[in-house]
Structure formats: C-alpha cells, structure tokens
C-alpha cells in the first residue's frame, strides 16, 4: 500500500491512538504528585509534592490512609510469578516438544491446553474454590492460586514454544546424533541454545501474566493477599494517590529492566557483527 494521503491520515490516527492508550498513564503520573495526605485522586492539584511516594515507601509519617502492603504482598506476588514462570515454561516446552511430530489426539491436547487461557478467570477461580471446599483443602496463594496461575500461563508458554519449534530445523539435531552425541546432550548443547530466545520470551510472558493476575487469585488466594488483590481491596474503600505513585514506581522499574535487556541485546548483536567483519578483513 502506498497512498501518501492515506498514509498521513493513518499516521495522525496512530498518534491519537497512542495518546488514547497513554492518556490515563499521564493522569496517573500527574496525580501521583498530589499534595498529601489530604489531597485526593482528582484534579486540581492542590500543591505538587512527593508525599505519596514517601507514603508508598513507608517513609511518610502515619496517617489515616493505610499503607500499601508492599513488603509482604509484593514478595508474595514476585514469588508466585517466579514459580509460575518456571513451571509454565517447563510444561509449555515439554508439550510443544511432543507436538513436533504428529500423533493421534493432538487436536484434543491442543485445545485442552489452549482452553486454559480461554476460560475467564472468574470461572476458574470459582470452580477451583468449589473443588477446594469439597476436598476440605485450605485455599492459599501458593497452592490453589498457584495451580491456576499455571493453568493460565502454560498455554501462552506452549504457543510461544510451538512457534519456535515450528521454525526449528530438526535436521540440526539429527546431525548431532549422527556425530555420536546422545539425545540428552544434543538437547543441552544444540537444541536448547537455539531455542533459548523463545524460552526467554515464554518466561517473560508467564511472569508478567502471573504477576498481574487477579480474578483467579481473588477466589483461591486465601487470606494472604498478593499485590493485585491488595489493590483490588482498595476498590471497596476510598482510593488515594498512593496507588498511582505505586503504579509509577512499578512502571519505572519494568522500564529499567526492559531498557537493560534492550541494551544488552543490542550490544551483543553489535559485538558479533564487529567480530565477523574483523575476520573478513583478515582473510582478504
């Protein structure tokens, strides 16, 4: 497609579109600097201050606004996300590995796994708590909630790995076997290094989804809350700008991680390119 007028029109459109996506973000950023502790989560800004940031970090003097349970809830969320990431990625890789060759019932297994991401969280949370009730099992974030987080993220990891394996050339593995290398070692030395970027993105997917998950956790998490549940808890009472300050902080944190990742990737690509061209010069 190459229509100058249409192109400009769509370029303007996408700018508005991105503004729409980021609008609430901007508001969140502004409101987080609201004066505290009296200032509420609305305009106008009474006075610019960093009070709510101090409040989030536990540096502000105690007020009637309850502090966010950052220490415990955040630790729980991170632990849960990490465990979910590991299990979901392993399950996803194993299942995708099985899908590399045709087998009977592959359609059933495919849709069974994909169902995990299709069923709404409320339903699964409800179903799981009913099962827990029936069995007399205590509902906990590391038990009933954890298994549901895996049910939710495993399909994503599976689909990512499936796409990776689709592009993977089986003959590279065969070549390694024919050289006398065992299948186990071939997987470690050849298959895994090649699919590693895929595994990494599967892990990233699983971690992010689990970290932010709450409908499933709401019913099955038990009395110890995770971070999203703690935030959800503020819905019923008044909300304060400390939530927005927290939002800004976590966004910045993820940004930093993403930037470091990006910089490292770029650097490694540039290094390998430099190396290659250097050798070329040697030969010519």
């Amino acid at each position: 497609m190459n229509q100058p007028a249409l192109r400009i029109l769509l370029a303007v459109y996408i700018a508005i579109f991105i503004a729409f996506l980021y609008g609430p973000f901007l508001v969140m950023g502004i409101i987080s600097f609201q004066q505290g502790p009296e200032g509420g989560p609305q305009f106008p800004i009474i006075e610019w201050s960093t009070f709510w940031y101090k409040h989030v970090l536990g540096l502000a003097p105690p007020t009637r606004v309850a502090p966010l349970p950052i220490g415990e809830a955040l630790t729980r969320s991170l632990t849960l996300a990490f465990a979910t990431m590991v299990v979901a990625t392993v399950l996803g890789t194993l299942t995708a590995q099985a899908f590399r060759t045709q087998f009977k019932g592959s359609g059933f297994v495919f849709y069974l796994v994909v169902l995990g991401m299709m069923v709404p969280g409320v339903l699964l949370g409800l179903g799981m708590s009913l099962v827990a009730n029936q069995l007399g099992v205590q509902r906990t974030w590391w038990g009933t909630a954890f298994v549901l987080h895996v049910v939710y993220t495993f399909p994503f990891a599976f689909l990512v790995m499936l796409a990776i394996f689709n592009r993977f050339d089986q003959r590279v593995e065969e070549a390694a076997w024919a050289l006398g290398v065992t299948p186990m070692r071939t997987f470690r030395k050849v298959t895994f290094p090649i699919i590693f970027p895929g595994v990494l993105s599967a892990m990233l997917f699983a971690f992010t989804l689990s970290y932010d998950e709450f409908p499933r956790t709401l019913f099955t998490g038990g009395p110890d809350v995770t971070m999203p549940i703690a935030i959800y808890g503020t819905f019923s009472v008044e909300i304060h700008p400390n939530l927005f300050a927290f939002g800004v902080l976590t966004t910045l944190f993820s940004f930093t991680l993403l930037t470091i990742y990006g910089v490292l990737m770029t650097a490694s690509i540039r290094r390998s390119q430099a190396k290659a061209s250097g050798i070329q010069e040697d030969i010519e």
Partner: protein
Amino acid sequence: MSMQETTQKSALLKRNKKFALLAPGVIWMMLFLVVPLCMMIYVSFWTQTTFSISSDLTLKSWKTFFASETYFGALIRTIRLWLIVLFLTFIIGYPAALFIGQFVRNKTTQTVLLVACVIPFWTSFLIRVLAWRPMLGKEGAINIVLQKFGLIDAPIEVLLFTELSVVIGMVQIYVVFMVGPIAFMLARIDQSLIEAARDLGASSWTIFRKIIFPLSLPGVVVGAIFVSVMVLGEFATASALSGRKVNLLGNIIVTQVGSLKWAFAAVIGVVLTAVMAVVITLLLRVVDLRKEL
C-alpha cells in the same frame, strides 16, 4: 532379538517418550482446569439455603436465575457490553493495525510501535483501570480540558460511573489485543501480491476488500477471541468505573461468592461458560487456530 521385536520395542519406546512429554501438561490441565469446571456444573444443581449448601440435587438455583429480573438482566447487559466493546476495539484497532502492518515497511519502526502499544501492560491492570477515574470524573482531566477550550459550559457528568465509562475503560485496555494479531497477519502479506493487483489496475479500495482484509481475517478472529474471553469474564473494570451501578455476570459471581452462595455463583458460572463456548465455537468456525500458528 528378531527384527520384529526390535521394531515393536522402538515403537513402544517412542510412544512412551511422547507420553512422558505430554503427561505432565495434560494431567495438570485435567486436574486444575477440567475438574474445576465440571465441579462448577455439578454444584450449580446443589441445594442452596441462606446459611448452608448441601449436595442434594435441585433445579432451584437455575429457576431463580431465569426468573430474576436482576440476574437475567445482567446476562443481557453482559452480552450487550461485550458486543459494543468488541465492535469498538475492532473499529478503533483495525486502522492502527493497518498502519503498523502495511504502511510501516521498516521492521524497527514496526517493532517500536508495537512495543509502544504493549508498554502500558507493564503497569498493573487494576491501577490502569483506576487511572480512568481522575480522567473521566466531573472534575476530571477531560472535563477540565474541554472547559478550558470553551467547548462545553458545564462538565459532562455521564463520563464517570456509567456504562459509558465502563465501555471506555474496557476498550482502552483490550484494544491492543485486537491490534497485535491483526498487525501480525497484515505484516505477513506478500507485498508482491498487492503490487501485482495494482499493476492489474485494481483500486486501493478493491485491493483492501479483496486482498488485504481477507488475509487479515485470521488476525481479526484471534483478536476477537482474546477480547471476547476477557470482556465476558470482566468484573473489575465494571466495579471500578461504574460505581457498582453496572453489574455484569462476573460481578454477580463475585458478590455471590462473597456471601457464600456457592450454588448460585455456579449457575451464573455455567451460563457464562455456555455463552463463551458459543462465541468461541462460532469464531473458530471462521478460522482454524492451529493452522494459523
């Protein structure tokens, strides 16, 4: 060892290996996905009294659901809201995807734009929903800006704590799930196909209708599945932005569970599952998900 035995043994070994690879995932999904869903259906037929629940089978909860204006109304409202959001995410998302997938030919720019769309996801979903409140409120950003420019005299009040605010919030959050798959499919279209059509004298509109849109259809369907699944099961956006005035099926499940009315929550859960199953089956009719991967 005879050849026959060897072959049989190796075939058995292969099957065992496949089984070992599949078993963990399948067992996990059976235990923690299929069993809970079955349990939900089962419990929907249990007898619910105010303070307790017993496993005597009855249709009472089901009758209450369809007889009650509130509950049946919630079903209708959920479906209406879902259709509105689905339509809007498509209308708003498609041009954006078209730009990213077809007009941006530079891979880096493409990636940058897609990443720009995904970045909001690094902030907690709930905080993103809540951020709409100071945006839409009576003294919110939109009203302030509109008043400053003299476009309106009095603040618009229907923006927050109405169905409209729920729709706005949902569209903003879910539109990216529509953009991603469509942009992906559009970017895969072979440019020579479009050039060939142009050489044959096809107009831009014909090219769009006959080539670009049909080829992007799988992306639309995948996006629609994502959006449908998430919107139909929604309750947080509704409770955060409607001031509890808009009750979706999801909200009712949450309240019922809160008051330990398990059987009733299960009935709504089964209804929601049925709606979802119909929607996804219809969408999958259009596109074979497995083939598109």
